[in-house]
């Protein structure tokens, strides 16, 4: 009987979606489950940090980590897991590139905390910021981890072996990645696994409805546009990021008339995913007058960073709003 695969699953700044997709993928796959020995999985099992510390180095076969690095505690945990694991996988968009929480990098962290704890309407005591040390009513001292000034993807902190893209990765993607890992034929380190090597348009059923030339006269917002779900969304003026995003999700969003928002992240040749997205979207806006272009962009893309860096800002070349450090 072959030894079971020792797996650790951990979550950082996470919404829980990756956990759901993992369970979704393997919950009925007895052959896979029966071959796994889970040594650490805080969301579901009562392991503690000490249990991991006790393990010999590299005794975990695969550590699957999702979520972005937001707290000091995350840094400690992922470094620990790296030491103890043979292979570390960045699971999902947050671990791979920062994910949606990465958009916080557009603001100073104090602005973010202030918004959350002081400005947002609440029944709680207002203006109480997270305190690193406090005493409970029962007199116990508790510590709260420190918030990092910027959100980081996993590979900014530790060496990552493979990436599984998606927000969350679809069950198919996860299973395909597992298949790849268990095949014995490991792809080159730092590859994205489980997904396609080409852009989403290839697997999108609306791709074949495109006219000879994809050119638009205006960029539209989905909230005030009637979308024809049987035709390519880009051609209808909706900024769909399919052409610039890695495929592998089976085009699940455009398939139901919703534009791709880029959760499967960049392709191998991209230097900066957002800049590439800017390039193709602007290129197909078929206007030549500067004022007309400005107007079309202001109407159609009032928030470029939110559109193109929704999942990838911390992994972009500039990573943050550079003006944040101005006051220092």
């Amino acid at each position: 009987m072959s030894p079971k695969v020792r797996v650790a699953l951990y979550w950082l700044a996470s919404c829980g979606g990756c956990e759901e997709s993992q369970v979704d993928a393997i919950s009925d796959k007895i052959d896979i489950i029966s071959n796994l020995e889970i040594v650490f999985w805080p969301v579901a099992m009562d392991f503690k940090k000490e249990d991991v510390e006790k393990l010999p180095d590299e005794s975990i076969d695969v550590a699957i980590i999702n979520g972005g690095v937001r707290f000091k505690e995350h840094v400690e945990m992922v470094k620990l897991l790296r030491r103890k694991s043979k292979i570390v996988i960045a699971y999902g968009s947050c671990a791979s590139w920062g994910g949606i929480p990465g958009l916080a990098n557009l603001y100073d962290i104090n602005e973010v905390l202030s918004k959350v704890y002081s400005e947002v309407p609440t029944l709680q005591e207002k203006g109480v910021m997270p305190r690193p040390k406090s005493v409970t009513n029962e007199g116990m001292e508790i510590e709260l981890t420190e918030v990092l000034p910027m959100l980081l993807p996993l590979d900014a902190v530790i060496d990552v072996d493979y990436y599984i893209p998606g927000c969350p990765p679809t069950p198919e993607t996860f299973l395909k990645a597992l298949e790849t890992l268990l095949s014995g034929n490991l792809p080159p380190r730092k590859s994205v696994i489980g997904a396609s090597t080409r852009a989403l348009c290839e697997e999108c059923p609306l791709n074949k409805t495109k006219p000879d030339k994809v050119l638009i006269k205006e960029i539209r917002r989905i909230y005030n546009t009637k979308i024809d779900p049987s035709k390519c969304l880009l051609v209808q003026g909706i900024p769909c990021l399919g052409p610039v995003t890695r495929g592998g999700c089976n085009a699940k969003c455009p398939r139901v008339g919703s534009p791709c928002i880029g959760c499967y992240g960049p392709l191998d040749k991209h230097i900066d995913y957002g800049a590439k997205a800017i390039s193709f979207i602007a290129s197909i806006l078929d206007l030549n007058d500067e004022n007309e272009i400005k107007k079309a962009l202001d109407n159609g893309i009032p928030d470029p960073a939110g559109l193109i860096y929704k999942f990838t800002l911390p992994a972009s070349r500039l990573k943050v709003n550079l003006k944040r450090g101005e006051h220092k």
Partner: protein, 648 residues
């Protein structure tokens, strides 16, 4: 290229003291040799000299260089020189990068230290790029030694003659049933009064006798594919119901019951649906106006030689040609009904109609009469359709002033008592045609300058012309017997042509030349040339020159060549990465990108013969699948990243 496989030679030119006087060339060479991957760095007084070039060649052979950087003057001057030197030494000429440290450095900066630092930075950036360059092979395009000339006006005829005399196979087509183009409607071409039909006759006679010339009338291009050296053109020839047996007897014309306005007579008279455009017409046979013909068949019965067959269908002809010359000419501006009184009375005519009235072979036999009377007071209004009128292009139509002044002389020679007023915005009788202006003045023609357009009112027998004379700033009324509107040249079917040949138009609607000054008679599309009024208002002389120019350029391209070599700095699709998103297809103004299938997968593909190498598609490609040879992402990024150590 990994560092240990890289063997780059760097050569810094002094250019005498042009560079060395400001830049410390020794320092730059020393710096270059410290860059990983650079195995030799030299500096020399004149790198472009034989000695300098030999230096490079020897190093390539002896040191097994696989990349060369020359820091000297602008690549605009010597990139080709050094590429050839590299090629002669046995290294692929595209593993070479030239750095401009003269025009962009020593000649524009004064501080020696800063200029030297800049030279070092630029060398470092070039070395970084060369490390990423790949060998490229020029693209061989097979050449067909024939040319298609579209349009048989003076420009097209001039082009066709030049080509045919050089021995090329020439196809000349015209959408009309006869050759000769627009000048056949003119009888009084300034400044020497040429009769258009007589002018083109010797050209046509010579052309049609040549065995390497094929003439197709009633023919239009409906599609074009391929690229320079090998265009595949599909032509539709409308039915020519009348065969070459036609003896020009004219019985068919007598029998024909249909009458329509005769455009060869400025629509002043009528013609039949079956007619002979003019007596010098080539092909020398009657033609049928399909729009007017009712196919009643009376002409067939009347024809003694059975030359007419109304059942003939249109046919399609496919041609393979190496180059195309577009000479589709222009159409005169047609004023609207009511525009300056046009169409409201027979006494307001266009300049074209004036031509017919002055022609001995015209509808009035050359007697200059209108409505049976000799017009005494004649008003010419210039710039109609160009600067004034219902539709304007705001561009001067070039020939009208000369034509106007010349026509006054013709009129005065017939009716010396005429009072002629020329209402003008500007008088542009350029070159030696200035003489016409003075002659007209001497002969009593009154020149009235306007800034606002004149107004024309029909009042019974007279045409009242109201104009504000701009020099004396007074309103003038002229009761005219005849008003002649001098109309502009407009781009005739430029829209269709531009669509079919994938060209573009100028601001005033004519077909665009590649560059007004540096590349006349060319379009931006390699292998497609442009001649005559199709490119903008022109006179006969200018059109003839333009046609010959276009033909010369086509000859330079094709004559005695089996193939042409195109620079390989073109776009290419990495089909493994292409997702078939089609973003690139819409980016190319040269239609060089199309779609193909790799198994089930749709991918983009670039025709290297059509690609002009701008790289716009590569920048737009969302996957990075589209690459621009010689300017690939990794090559440009290498330069950008090497920018990091810049010292200012």
């Amino acid at each position: 290229m990994r560092d240990k496989d890289v063997r780059i030679g760097v050569y810094i030119c002094h250019c005498g003291t042009n560079i060395a006087g400001v830049v410390d060339v020794e320092e730059v060479a020393r710096y270059a040799s410290s860059i990983p991957g650079v195995v030799v760095a030299r500096h020399y007084t004149f790198m472009c000299s034989e000695t300098g070039q030999n230096m490079i060649k020897d190093d390539i052979k002896n040191l097994k260089l696989n990349g060369v950087v020359v820091a000297a003057c602008s690549p605009a001057l010597h990139e080709v020189t050094f590429r050839n030197a590299v090629k002669e030494a046995g290294l692929n000429p595209y593993l070479f990068e030239m750095v401009n440290i003269r025009e962009h450095c020593s000649w524009t900066h004064t501080d020696r230290r800063l200029a030297t630092e800049k030279a070092k930075d630029l060398v470092r950036m070039a070395v970084a790029k060369v490390k990423e360059l790949e060998p490229l092979e020029e693209v061989k395009a097979e050449v067909v030694n024939s040319v298609l000339v579209v349009g048989s006006g003076v420009a097209g005829l001039s082009a066709a003659l030049t080509l045919a005399r050089a021995g090329l196979t020439v196809y000349i087509i015209d959408k009309r049933p006869v050759l000769g183009g627009f000048v056949t409607r003119l009888v009084n071409i300034a400044p020497i009064g040429i009769r258009g039909r007589e002018f083109v006759k010797p050209m046509i006679d010579e052309l049609v006798k040549m065995p390497n010339v094929k003439v197709l009338t009633n023919a239009e291009v409906i599609s074009v594919e391929g690229g320079v050296g090998n265009f595949k053109v599909r032509i539709r020839q409308r039915p020519t119901y009348i065969s070459d047996s036609c003896t020009l007897c004219g019985y068919c014309e007598k029998a024909c019951p249909i009458e329509v306005p005769n455009e060869y007579e400025g629509k002043l008279t009528m013609r039949k649906a079956i007619y002979l455009p003019f007596k010098e017409a080539y092909p020398p046979k009657y033609v049928i106006d399909e729009n007017a013909c009712t196919k009643c068949g009376k002409c067939i019965d009347a024809c003694p030689v059975k030359a007419i067959d109304l059942s003939v269908k249109e046919r399609y002809i496919d041609l393979n040609v190496g180059a195309i010359i577009i000479a589709v000419g222009h159409e005169p501006y047609e004023p609207d009904k009511g525009e300056f009184g046009y169409g409201l009375t027979r006494r307001v005519i266009t300049s074209l109609q004036l031509e017919r009235l002055l022609d001995e072979e015209g509808p009035t036999g050359g007697r200059f009469i209108i409505d049976g009377k000799v017009p005494k007071t004649i008003v010419f209004i210039s710039c109609v359709g160009s600067l004034i009128g219902n539709k304007t292009t705001n561009a001067c139509s070039r020939r009208c002033c000369s034509t106007m002044t010349y026509d006054t002389l013709k009129i005065l020679s017939k009716n010396p008592d005429s009072h002629i007023y020329i209402l003008y915005r500007d008088i542009r009788t350029y070159g030696f045609e200035e003489e016409l202006y003075w002659k007209a003045l001497e002969n009593g023609v009154v020149f009235v300058k306007f800034e606002e357009p004149p107004k024309v009112e029909v009042m019974g027998d007279k045409i009242m012309v109201y104009v504000r004379e701009a020099t004396i700033n007074k309103n003038i009324v002229i009761p005219a017997d005849l008003v002649v509107l001098f109309v502009s040249m407009t781009p005739s079917n430029a829209g269709e042509i531009v669509r079919i040949f994938k060209l573009s138009r100028t601001a005033d609607g004519f077909i665009r030349e590649a560059h007004l000054k540096l590349r006349p008679a060319e379009t931006p599309t390699e292998g497609i040339f442009l001649a005559g009024a199709a490119a903008g208002p022109k006179g006969v002389m200018e059109s003839v020159i333009h046609g010959a120019a276009a033909a010369s350029k086509a000859l330079a391209l094709l004559l005695n060549k089996k193939y042409i070599l195109r620079e390989p700095l073109v776009a290419k699709v990495d089909e493994e990465l292409c997702s078939g998103c089609l973003i690139c297809v819409g980016m190319c103004p040269f239609n060089a990108i199309s779609v193909k299938y790799v198994g089930e997968r749709r991918v983009a593909t670039v025709n290297p013969l059509l690609c002009m190498g701008c790289g716009t598609c590569a920048a737009a490609c969302p996957s990075g699948a589209m690459e621009h040879n010689g300017f690939k992402d990794k090559q440009i990024l290498a330069q950008v990243r090497a920018f990091a150590g810049v010292v200012v």
